[in-house]
Symmetry: C3
Subunit: 352 residues, 3 copies
C-alpha cells in the first residue's frame, strides 16, 4: 500500500516512543493487528488486547507505555492510537500532484490561481475567485464568485461553495457538501405568507477544518457563520446561519445546529443531536447522540436527552423509564392498600 | 453593500409605517443595530432592546408601533421584522442578468428556453424541457427530460431535477438538492427479496416555494408528490413519495416526512422531527423539534415528543422524567412504610 | 403510460395467480384502484378495500387469494402487493438505450468501458475505471480512479463514487449520493488537536442494492464498508466506516449507522434511527423509527426508544410517560396520606 521504507528506530523517534527490539527492522506500512503482515507495523490501543497482538503477523507493534511486554519488537507510547495515526499519515502522505487546470474546467474572469494547482474536469470557478497553492479540486466542484480558498485544500467531487465564502488552509471538504447557502430566515405577514430575508453574510472556515460529505453550512443573515480552526464535521450535518463553532470541536454525523447558536472550543456533539438557536455550549462540553439541547451548557458539562439534562441524571432516568410499567402497577397496588388502611383507621372520612 | 439611495419617507411608505424624524434623510442600506453605520437603517424587533438602539450608529430605525420613542429618526410599524425584511429585499434586489446559455452547457432536443435566461457551465438539460423567463441556473445543475420550470426560478449549483417534474414560478432551490428520486417502495417476496416498485408519478412544486440545500423530494408511486405555494423547506429535509404539503408550511432542517403523509396549510415542523406515512397534520398545527408524529394532528394543535402528544402535556411529563430517580426513591420509601403500616393494623394478612 | 399489451391470462401466469374472468382481456397498464381506467389492471392489497374495488373503473384486479369475489375479472394471489409490483415492472421495463459516451463526458486513461453503455454529459470518469455492460450514467456523475461498476447499474445525476470502490450488478444509486468518503476518524493529541486517520479501505456494494438520494457511505479505515446483496437504502442515510449491512436489509431515510457496526440479514432500521458503533444487530431484527440502539440486538427482536429497549416494553412505558403529570399528583397525594396514617398509628415516630 505504500512505497516507503523506514526503520523501526526512525518510526519510534517520529512518535516520541520507547523502542524495544531491533532498531533496524524495515517497515513499509501500518495495518491493524488482525491483518498486518511481514514488513508492517500494527498497533494495540489497550493492554487488554495483548492476545491479539501475540497472534498478529506484524513485524512490530505500537503499544501503550504501561504495557510490560517486549517479546516482539514494540514502540511504547503514551497514546498508541495517536502514534499509529501519525505513522499512518507518514506512510500515506504523497507529494502534491500538479495537474494544472483541466481544459474541461471553467474559470471565470479576474481569478487568482497559482500554477501549483489541480483542477479537474467540469469544475466551475466564478469570477474573482482566489485559490491558494496546492489546492486540489475534484471534478464537478462549483466555486462561485469572490470565494477565497487557502493553501493545501482538498475539495472532493460535486462540492458547492457559494459566493464570497472564505476557506482557510489545509481544509478538506468531502463530496456533495454545500457551503454558503442562504440561512432559513423568513418574516411572516398577516396573511401567513413568508417574506424571504436576503442573506448578505458569508461563511468563514478556518485552517485545518475537515467537513464530511453532503454537509450544509448556511451563510450569515448579516455577518458570518464561522467554523474555527481544527473543527471536524462528519457527514450530513446541518449548520445554520451565524453559528459559531469553536476550535477543535467535533460534530458527529447528522447533527443539526440552529441559527446563531455558538459552541466553545473542543465541544463534542454526538450523532443526530440538535442544538437550539441562540444558545451557547461552553468549552469542552459534550452532547450525547440524539439529544436535543434547549439551553446553555456550562463548560465541560455532559448532557443527554430531549430536552438535554446532565448525562448522569439522564442515564438514571432512562433506566427508570424502562421500568415505568412495573412501577405503575406497584403504584396502583399501593393506592389500593392506602384506601384499605384509611377505611380501617379513618372510617368516618370519605376518600377522594 | 448596495448602490441604492432612498429617503426615509419613501422607506416608511414602503412598509406602511409612521415616520418620526426628517423625511429627507438618505438611506442606502439596512443592517442590524450592532453594526449599522451612517446612512444605514437598522431595526428593533422588541421594545426591550431599546438600549441597543440608543447605542447604535444607524441613521434611522424601524421600531414597534407601540414604542414611545422618537429621539432618533424612527419608522413605527406593526411588525418590525417583516418591515425590515421588505426593506432589505428592496436594497438587495438586482435586475435579472441575462447571460444566456453557456457554451459549456448541454441542452437536449426540443427544449423550450426563452432568450431571457442564464444557464451556467456544465448545466445539463434533457430533452423537451421547458424553462420560464428569467430562470437562473448555476453550474452543475442537471434537469432531466420533460421537466418544466416556471418563470423567475433560481437553481443553485449541483441541483438535480428528475424527469417530468414540474416547478412553478419564483421557486428557489439550493445546492445539491434532488427533486424527483424514486420513492422508497418495495414488495417483499417469500424469500425476503425486495422487488422494486417502479415510481411512475412525479413531483409538483408550486409558486414561491424555497427549498434548502441537499434536500430530497421523492416522486409519487402513482400520482404526484406536491409542495404547495409558499412552502419553505430548510436543508437536508426528506420528503417521501406522494406527500402533500399545504401552502405556506415551514419545514425546518433534517425533518423526515414519510410516504403519503399530508400537511395542511401553515403547518410548522421543527428541526429533525418526523411524520409517519399516511397521516394528516391539519392546518396551522405545529410539531416541536425532534418529535415523532405517529397519528393525525388536529387543526392548530401543537405536539411534542416520541410519540408526539400535546405540547403542554409533554413539557410537564419531561420535567417529571428528569425527576424519576428521586421519585423512584420516594416510591420505595412509601412501599416500606405501607408494609410497616400493614403489619401494624392488619397483622394477620400476608403481604405480597 | 406503457405501449405494451398483454392478456389477463398471461399476467396471471406471470404472478402464479388464479384467474377468474375472461383470459383474453387485453391489459396495457397497472394503476391503483382510484385512478385505473379501461385497459388497466388495479390491485387490492387487503380484502377490507373491496368497496373501492367495486367502484373502480379498472378492467381487472389483482386480489388476495382468500377473497371470495369474482364479479369482475380478478387474479387471485397470495401477495397482491408483490404481484402488482411484478406486473408494474413488466409494464415499465424498457430495453436498455445505448447512447454511448457523450462527447461532453471525460474518460480517464486505461478504463474498461463496454460499447453497450450510456454516459451522459459532464460525467467524469477517472483512470483505470471498469464499467459493466448496460451501465447508465446520468450527467454530473463523478467516478474516481480504480472504481469498478458491475453490469446493469443505474447512476442518477451528481452521484460521486470515490476511488477504488466496487459496485456489483443491478445497483441503482440516486442523485447526489456519495460513496467512499473518508470515515470520521481522528486521534486527539494532548493539546486537543485532532490528527486525521487516513482511510485506506474501500466500499463494496453487492448486487441488486438500491441507494437513495444524498446518501453518504464512508470507506473503511482499513478493510471495507460492505453493503450486501439486495439491501435497500432510503434517502439521506449515513453509513460509517467499516459498517457491514447483511443481505436484504432495509434502511429507511435519515438513519445513521456508526463506524464498525454490523447488521445481519433482513434487518429493518426505521426512519431517523441510529446505531452505535461496534455493535451487532442480528438477522431479522427491527428498529423503530427515531430509536437509538446502544447495544447488540438479538435475532428477530424489535426494539424502540433511546436507548432502545424491547418494543413492547417501550410502547407501555411511553403510554405511562404521557401520564406522568397525573401519576406525580397521585404520588404526592399518597405521600400526604401516609404521613397522616403514620401520625395516627405511630404517633411517637418522627417522619423524615
Amino acid at each position: 500500500m505504500s512505497a516507503k521504507n523506514i526503520t523501526l528506530a526512525e518510526l519510534s523517534r517520529m512518535v516520541d516512543g520507547e523502542l524495544h527490539g531491533d532498531p533496524d527492522i524495515a517497515i513499509h506500512g501500518l495495518a491493524n493487528l488482525a491483518t498486518a503482515v511481514a514488513g508492517e507495523i500494527a498497533f494495540l490501543v489497550k493492554a487488554a488486547g495483548i492476545e491479539t497482538l501475540k497472534n498478529s503477523h506484524g513485524a512490530a507493534f505500537i503499544v501503550p507505555r504501561t504495557l510490560s511486554y517486549d517479546d516482539k519488537p514494540v514502540i511504547k507510547v503514551a497514546n498508541p492510537y495517536l502514534a499509529a495515526a501519525i505513522i499512518q499519515n507518514f506512510f500515506q502522505a504523497k507529494p502534491f500532484q500538479t495537474t494544472g487546470i483541466s481544459p474541461k474546467a471553467h474559470i471565470g474572469s479576474d481569478c487568482d490561481i497559482p500554477a501549483e494547482t489541480s483542477i479537474g474536469p467540469f469544475v466551475s470557478i466564478g469570477d474573482r475567485v482566489k485559490l491558494g497553492k496546492r489546492v486540489f479540486i475534484h471534478p464537478g466542484v462549483v466555486i462561485c464568485d469572490d470565494a477565497v480558498i487557502g493553501d493545501d485544500c482538498l475539495l472532493y467531487p460535486n462540492v458547492t461553495v457559494y459566493h464570497s465564502c472564505t476557506i482557510g488552509s489545509g481544509v478538506i471538504i468531502h463530496g456533495g457538501t454545500v457551503i454558503g447557502s442562504d440561512g432559513f430566515g423568513f418574516a411572516t405577514d398577516e396573511n401567513g405568507n413568508h417574506v424571504k430575508w436576503p442573506h448578505i453574510g458569508t461563511v468563514q472556515i478556518d485552517d485545518n477544518v475537515e467537513i464530511g460529505a453532503n454537509v450544509t453550512i448556511d451563510r450569515g443573515t448579516f455577518g458570518k457563520t464561522h467554523i474555527m480552526r481544527g473543527v471536524k464535521i462528519d457527514n450530513l450535518v446541518q449548520i445554520g446561519h451565524n453559528v459559531k463553532i469553536g476550535g477543535n470541536s467535533i460534530i458527529v454525523a447528522q447533527v443539526g445546529i440552529a441559527g446563531s447558536a455558538s459552541l466553545g472550543k473542543n465541544v463534542v456533539l454526538g450523532g443526530q443531536s440538535a442544538v437550539k438557536g441562540h444558545i451557547h455550549l461552553d468549552d469542552g462540553s459534550m452532547v450525547a447522540g440524539k439529544s436535543g439541547v434547549h439551553s446553555n451548557v456550562p463548560k465541560g458539562a455532559i448532557v443527554s436527552g430531549i430536552p438535554a439534562i446532565p448525562h448522569k441524571d439522564w442515564l438514571k432516568a432512562s433506566i427508570i423509564f424502562a421500568k415505568l410499567p412495573k412501577i405503575y402497577g406497584e403504584l396502583r397496588d399501593m393506592q389500593k392498600k392506602i384506601v384499605k388502611i384509611y377505611e380501617k383507621i379513618f372510617p368516618d372520612e370519605s376518600q377522594d
